[in-house]
């Protein structure tokens, strides 16, 4: 047995996930190196890292994707492994291979597994060959003339996906044959831009299915599951709320889905933390969606119900240690809910918002976890994903977890940029969500009842009083006026 863990690990990411990985490295007593772009130079992640090196690049995103520069930094500083977080280089097999040839460990699965699972078509075929369920679909070049005829045969609605896509990128829904050509043009453009691969595939879209995924850990020989997460509440294919266990999900179904996930990961000889995503239809059918070969945004939900530190396990596995946790050790308890906090105008079509964090205050308490990395003065721009932080809660039951989540969101304050905090609170209070009646169309179906509460007369008066008395222009005028009486005539013109 090899119990060597790394001496020095570089974190090739930013924001909350950089902080999360740095915390795991601290726990393992591993020296950490953080690479950062100038735009992130005030991030609290820098203070958490033992060493921090600036990445030179015109755009922040370009810098975090600059493999050559990152590998040079690794070599210069004597780094033995790189944790890619999620997004950026986390599912880039070329990066994994380049690191390997420089004798640096990529903290994630082998490059071949990233390639196998990273391509929607090859992963679907792989899963189907092993006897696991995939939904009916066709694959073609977007400009093939027969595309619309073949696609129509599947029946509408359909979902068009970029073959190399994932995480909700490069996907759109088509309701009729007329919409197909425009959607294909956008899909092919997105596919080529994001993934350098024009192939798209079309499959039947299940408008009322649930998105249920299973967390797995594998060391190349053994694979265990850490139960499921329900991530059905989504907007624009991006998850908003995740929970574990899934509501109204029978033990038999849980056993089945976890067994399929372990089967798929075992067939791939999976070695790292990974997630197998499924669609679960109201008819009780289960279809493989995709496998994500990285740590996921919503991993804290699983950590809170199982007590397993997924990032620590991921690092140990990458260092060649066998997985010491047995399936029988995993005994999920209670209920966890994660809310993604994003800079957006949720009540107005989820349009992205930009701004500057002028003030923030995070929720605290037992069973409340805040994964953030936000800081006062932080510019929120369109350069990155709009997610700013995550609020995760754990309680004995779903009902108690909902109460705790609502309380935590009421305590979370972010001033200076519009966020979805109040919107998510509305979802958590929605009778259908409370009942556990979630599916991927939840936000669309209930858009008319997930609305901003009107201001009460009292709230209106308090806010307007504060507005006047806090308004700097008014204060200046008031201070410059010797007597308020003297100015009344002027005010009342």
């Amino acid at each position: 047995m090899n119990d060597r863990v790394f001496n020095k690990v570089l974190v090739a990411n930013r924001g909350e996930i950089a902080c999360r990985v740095l915390q795991a490295l601290q726990q393992l007593n591993i020296t950490s190196v953080l690479v950062y772009h100038e735009a992130d130079k005030n991030s609290p992640a820098l203070a958490m890292a033992n060493e921090a090196v600036e990445l030179i690049g015109d755009s922040p995103t370009g810098a975090y994707l600059d493999m050559v520069q990152i590998i040079q930094i690794c070599q210069r500083l004597g780094v033995d492994a790189v944790h890619p977080g999620y997004g950026f280089l986390s599912e880039n097999s070329q990066f994994a291979r380049s690191l390997a040839s420089a004798n640096i460990t990529f903290i994630g699965p082998r490059a071949e597994i990233i390639e196998l699972m990273g391509d929607k078509i090859t992963s679907r075929n792989f899963v189907a060959e092993h006897g696991y369920p995939v939904s009916p679909s066709i694959t073609m070049d977007a400009d093939d003339e027969r595309f619309s005829i073949e696609a129509s045969k599947l029946g509408f609605p359909l979902v068009v996906k970029a073959s190399a896509g994932g995480g909700g990128k490069g996907m759109s829904i088509v309701n009729s044959v007329q919409e197909l050509s425009g959607t294909l043009r956008v899909a092919a453009s997105e596919a080529e831009k994001y993934f350098g691969d024009k192939r798209v595939y079309v499959e039947r879209y299940f408008s009322s299915a649930r998105h249920i995924e299973v967390q797995v850990l594998g060391d190349g020989e053994h694979v265990i599951h850490l139960a499921e997460r329900d991530c059905s509440v989504q907007r624009r294919f991006q998850k908003v709320i995740e929970e574990s266990p899934a509501a109204h999900f029978s033990d038999a179904m849980r056993e089945k889905i976890c067994k399929v996930a372990v089967g798929i990961a075992t067939a791939a000889k999976y070695s790292s933390a990974g997630t197998v995503e499924f669609l679960y239809t109201p008819e009780g059918e289960l279809f493989f969606l995709e496998m994500n070969t990285r740590i996921q945004v919503e991993h804290p939900v699983t950590e809170m119900v199982t007590g397993v530190d997924l990032v620590v396990e991921q690092i140990k596995i990458a260092a060649g240690q066998p997985l010491l946790i047995k399936q029988s050790d995993i005994k999920p308890s209670g209920h966890a809910i994660e809310c993604r906090i994003c800079a957006e105008d949720s009540f107005n079509g989820f349009l992205p918002e930009i701004g500057r964090v002028l003030f923030f205050k995070i929720p605290e308490g037992e069973g409340v976890r805040f994964d953030g990395g936000i800081y006062t003065g932080q510019l929120v721009t369109s350069a990155y994903d709009p997610m700013l932080a995550k609020v995760v809660v754990h309680a004995a039951t779903r009902e108690l977890a909902l109460e705790k989540a609502k309380k935590a969101l009421a305590e979370l304050i972010i001033l200076g940029v519009k966020t979805n905090i109040d919107y998510v609170k509305e979802i958590l209070s929605h009778p259908e969500f409370v009942r556990g009646g979630v599916d991927t169309s939840f936000i669309k179906n209930y858009q008319h009842s997930i609305v901003q509460q009107p201001l009460s007369k009292q709230q209106q008066q308090v806010i307007l009083a504060a507005a006047l008395l806090k308004d700097r222009k008014f204060s200046l005028l008031r201070d410059a006026t010797p007597s308020l009486y003297g100015a009344i005539g002027h005010w009342r013109n």
């Binding site: 425009g182 453009s189 992205p352 002028l358 109040d422 504060a466």
Partner: protein, 167 residues
Amino acid sequence: MQPTYEIDGQEYIVQPMRRNHGLVVLIEGSDLEINLQDIDQCKAEVTVNGRSHLLYAMQLDNTLYVHADGRHHVINIIDEFENGVVDERDDGGSLKAPMPGVVEAVYVSEGDQVVVGDVVMLIESMKLQTEIKSAVAGTVDTVYKTAGSSFDKGALLVAIAVTAEKS
């Protein structure tokens, strides 16, 4: 001067009337005595007719961000001196950015004829691609942005001169 504030698209006038113990103001027809005690740079206690409320408020330019009673509010301070500028009458030919982002592709050139629904531009903002379509029939007058350039919410993307209807 009538201090005017906009919350969720609705404008309110907060009219200072006189000074009592606090300041007496007129809001939506009610006379209210208001007071504010700063606790720190952000936190304050606001009193309205003797009832205290704890809140957090920060101002940036003409926007005030307030958190009160578990809710966030964005308040625009209306500057009456800026209200004098009359917007050029828009006949629907100006296509503005619905959100900040980057131009992916431009499908038209200046002088091109377009009809309603023609896709003139493809923009991308935070993973989301959106087609910008013409709302009018006419001639492309100005293309303000080229592929690869970024823009803020509300920025002019393309201007189309509306073709006069022939009867």
